[in-house]
């Protein structure tokens, strides 16, 4: 179950442990919980993926809502004897236990550290032992997703040094390896390597392996756990690199996954959205606006069509939140790179509704425009982190906003550089040819400045793609012959083909309906 990404968390104070113990006995195991763990344990042993999925997705949720609304589940020690003290099951149970805690309550520092230890133990088992399990993709995705989330949450927590108690500082000093960035990255990397997933995906293209076709499941008696964790870890690495501000490497980590196709990443909606959200954001920061627009458009259309099917799921809120954020990012991309024809009708009308007015103001490039760019970016961006350990020297400061402030600053800097382009675009729309001198006059700048503006226009609208090629994303273009500017507008091509296809399908639908009426 994807955790809540809300930025504001109540600070985990030392008192939390006591508060949570009050009115809650960690050793009391209600019958329904006993039944839950016994059945889940059996299904895992019998590799009954369907049943595991039902219990994981539905039963766990139901019990949490009914019995554990604001208390943790029973401790693992209390349930262990119902499941033969099975080490792996206990690690899995604890993983769910902590995930529930993070979602419903506020973890203390000790609990954060314990959760890290649990992940380490669980991951060591998967990486170094032969694990004979098949787990649902939803669960495996949630593990990676939650792992990265808890890392992000820990960095945010740790960076707020100002009000830390002495006990917390002592604990931080003592357990300085918990959630350290090297550990997090190396675990994800280890999954990718040990699972051999990159080679598997390569071989699959040539027909040598079966992975996507079976949704990652192993139908020859083996386990899907390592492979699928390796697969989802690539998305995890993309995410961590975005949190660090390293967009180039993030995209490189995702490269083995072909996002122009369906794949295991689309088998879980949370994974699909997380992948495209971060892919789009990274492209936005790398100024590959067209690529970002294309992918945001696709996923927003997909969410529009399918979100009704997820209304009951625990991920629903998260899906809606990411949906809104991606509309904001799309609004930013389209304001920096007007390419209306890349956006589907449905998405476009939603976009107009949500951000139509703001987009108009953003393209004016005045102070108000920057405020809106700031607002949308801040709303939609990932929760950037400072990965280094804190300084324990006085005075203790909060530096949890530093990473975000840097990314925002650099983003707005890029926006500012494009400030003059809107003005020149307005003029270019009106003329088919105009001399540099005349245009300089109209724009009230000297010729030298106008040349710089035109160079900026050309440079900013011709991005370098991932293969090093130059791609023009200018809707309006020009060339200069000595001192004459010749404007070239790429006319929006009327999509006759698409139109006819739609009408054909529609008509067929009407005929089918009419046939049905006759039969009745």
């Amino acid at each position: 179950m994807a955790a809540n990404y809300d930025y504001e968390e109540a600070p985990g104070t030392y008192d939390d442990a006591n508060r949570q113990d009050l009115g809650y006995d960690p050793n009391f195991v209600p019958d329904s919980v006993k039944s839950f763990v016994v059945h889940l344990y059996r299904h895992i042993r019998e590799k009954n993926v369907y049943e595991i999925h039902q219990m994981y997705e539905i039963s766990f949720q139901t019990l949490s809502d009914r019995l554990f609304k604001d208390t943790p589940w029973p401790s693992v020690d209390a349930v262990a004897h119902y499941v033969d003290n099975d080490q792996v099951f206990c690690l899995l149970y604890r993983e769910m236990w902590f995930r529930h805690l993070y979602a419903r309550l506020s973890p203390t520092l000790k609990q954060r550290i314990d959760s890290w230890d649990n992940y380490c133990s669980l991951f060591q088992v998967v990486l170094h032992r032969v694990v004979n399990m098949q787990l649902p993709n939803q669960w495996l995705w949630d593990m990676v997703d939650e792992f990265v989330y808890q890392f992000q949450s820990f960095c945010q927590y740790r960076a707020k040094m100002k009000n830390k108690t002495e006990q917390e500082i002592a604990l931080l000093r003592q357990f300085d390896q918990a959630w350290n960035v090297y550990g997090v990255l190396n675990y994800l990397q280890a999954f990718v390597e040990k699972s051999n997933i990159i080679q598997i995906l390569e071989q699959e293209k040539e027909g040598g392996e079966q992975f996507t076709a079976t949704d990652g499941y192993d139908y020859s008696g083996g386990s899907n756990v390592l492979k699928v964790l390796g697969y989802f870890s690539m998305v995890g690495l993309l995410r961590v690199h975005c949190l660090l501000g390293d967009y180039q490497t993030g995209l490189k980590c995702l490269l083995p996954i072909d996002i122009s196709q369906q794949g295991v990443y689309t088998s879980v909606i949370g994974s699909h959205i997380a992948t495209i959200y971060h892919y789009g954001f990274a492209n936005l920061m790398m100024r590959r606006y067209v690529e970002a627009i294309r992918e945001f458009n696709k996923i927003l259309l997909y969410i529009y069509k399918t979100k009704q099917y997820h209304q009951k799921s625990p991920q629903y809120e998260q899906i809606l939140k990411k949906n809104e954020q991606m509309y904001a990012l799309l609004a930013i991309c389209l304001s920096l790179c007007p390419q209306a024809k890349l956006v589907d009708e449905t998405v476009n009308s939603q976009l107009r509704e949500k951000y139509g007015e703001k987009m108009a103001r953003m393209q004016r490039y005045d102070d108000e425009a920057f405020a809106i760019y700031d607002e949308l970016f801040s709303y939609a961006c990932p929760k950037f982190i400072t990965p280094s350990a804190p300084s324990f020297e006085e005075p203790l400061v909060n530096y949890n906003q530093d990473a975000y402030r840097l990314q925002l600053k650099l983003f707005l800097y890029e926006v500012k550089q494009q400030q003059l382009l809107s003005g020149v675009r307005t003029f270019l729309k009106v003329y088919s040819t105009i001399s540099l001198g005349k245009l300089a006059n109209y724009m009230e700048v000297d010729e030298s400045t106008l040349r710089s503006i035109l160079f900026t226009y050309k440079h900013k609208t011709h991005a370098v793609d991932s293969d090093g090629k130059i791609i023009s994303n200018a809707d309006l273009d020009f060339y200069i012959d000595d001192d004459m500017i010749h404007v070239v507008e790429s006319k929006p091509v009327k999509r006759y083909g698409d139109y006819f296809l739609r009408q054909i399908v529609k008509l067929e639908g009407v005929i089918t309906d009419m046939d049905r009426i006759k039969l009745e």
């Binding site: 090297y182 790398m286 280094s388 530093d402 710089s452 160079f455 050309k458 023009s472 070239v488 296809l501």
Partner: protein, 230 residues
Amino acid sequence: MGRETPKQQQVSYTVEQLVAVNPYNPDILPDLENYVNEQVSSQTYSLDANLCLLRLYQFEPERMSTQIVARILVKALMAMPAPDFSLCLFLIPERVQMEEQFKTLIVLSHYLETGRFRQFWDEAAKSRHIVEAVPGFEQAIQTYAIHVLSLTYQKIPRPVLAEAINIEGLSLDKFLEHQAANSGWILEKGHGRGQLIVLPRNEFNHPELKKSAADTVPLEHITRIFPILG
């Protein structure tokens, strides 16, 4: 715009492997730093290795060498029009960016991003100690300038070209001869105003060469109506 050039020396081959296989490892930091210096002296470039180093600096700020960071940024500037410079800035803490040498580099980048070539060359002249430390800097920026000019101009007046690439007089004559012989530049007489240089045709300064954004319909869409047609 060479981003990664073929590795000739054994050391660089090992570093590239390290970055590919074991990038999240504090022990490779000295190797990566040496590699930066090697890129500078042998006029090669590797964005991935440099990003890897900047990340390690981010993880352990006390090990950061501002001199190395400055060299990385100069190399990134030389990679324009690729956005490498901003990709590096994303990984450098704000307080470091406030230092004098970085403020200068950011200003230089700004001038190049906004086509202000004259201001760029003026500022670069004032900061010779930064830019002269990296061989090939001047040529790389000239290549970038010509790239922008090629996007923009079919025929460019000599003074505009001269200002953009910071070459004048006899040196410019020699340069133009070389380009005419090797890169397809054509030198014309402009009407009374001096020389006009005709730049090679490409799809950006000659829109008619652009592959038509045809009204193509992807095959997957057509498959939608196969049941109807059948």
